[in-house]
Symmetry: C2
Subunit: 159 residues, 2 copies
DNA sequence: CCGATATATATAGTCTGCTATATAGAAACA
DNA sequence: TGTTTCTATATAGCAGACTATATATATCGG
């Protein structure tokens, strides 16, 4: 009973779901002047007013260099500003522009709508179960990455 | 009880799992001369001997342009060959090089090992459940994409 | 106060994937 | 047969993510 393909792992389904979701929101977000990777940053900034890059890195769970580039694009597109941090000359505080703040609710609506589409037919229990299973997977993966990178930076507060 | 963040969707967890998995296999695959996106293509070619690009597109579920670029890199790295299809001058048949074929088992082992790590502590039932839930999500997403792209190309044979 | 180490960002280079568009050749059909 | 349409690839240009590395500034230990 050895299955076909590259192991019957859920990884393929996970990758596919991820790409499909991105494709679905891409157009609508683009019309709003947003891109998918920006939403978590925008939401975090809306809630916290102004944050240093390092904090966004923690919230979005991406590498520092990825965030730096993302912010470069967002700044270029007029979504965020970076102002020098008076308390630390290495750092700059990131904040939303008015335009970004005004458009954000529509962007969130796009994401939520796509989320609903993805979960059509799911009961609350189905969803909970899925989240729990994914959480377990992520915990496993985080551990493996911690082992690789040496740092114990992951597995932070349940978020 | 409105939750925090961008909806409590599993999308975040899915994206994170995807990236984490990729990070884990990246190094080992690189040492073998492979990259993560190539594995599905390599496996398909090993099984079918020689295939046109269009078939790989279907198997890997990526856009045609993505596959074309992936194959460009694989050809550049000496993993595949593209020979003119005698029956159709528009097309080229893709096949593995000897080197790729020899290294492939090690690459598969890396993927399988990472899959096991990801699923540590999962019972067979857990895994089945996870796969079933992800499959349902993907079905929903495929439908949404079909609606967008007009074509009814997705939702193919259960695979 | 000074040198060593740590921290906050930035940049270079690469991979994967997408959308949009271009081309060559095959197929249909008038 | 000739023209239109479809099909198989290719290319351009961009987003997002990663690794590796560079830079500037803070902090610590003496």
């Amino acid at each position: 009973m050895t299955q076909n393909e590259l192991s019957p792992n859920p990884i393929k389904l996970i990758g596919l779901a991820n790409r499909s979701f991105a494709r679905i929101v891409d157009g609508p977000l683009r019309e709003l002047g947003f891109a998918i990777g920006q939403l978590p940053v925008l939401v975090a900034l809306k809630k916290h007013r102004a944050l240093p890059q390092a904090e966004l890195v923690r919230l979005a769970r991406v590498e520092q260099s990825s965030m730096a580039q993302l912010l470069n694009r967002m700044e270029r597109d007029g979504l965020v500003r970076r102002v020098p941090d008076p308390n630390d000359k290495r750092s700059r505080l990131i904040s939303l522009t008015v335009r970004a703040e005004q458009q954000l609710p529509k962007g969130k609506a796009v994401m939520d709508q796509a989320g609903k589409v993805a979960l059509a037919g799911f009961t609350a229990a189905d969803l909970e179960l899925l989240m729990a299973l994914l959480l377990r997977m992520n915990t496993n993966l985080d551990q493996a990455i911690d082992a690789l990178t040496g740092t114990g930076a992951n597995a932070g507060p349940a978020a």
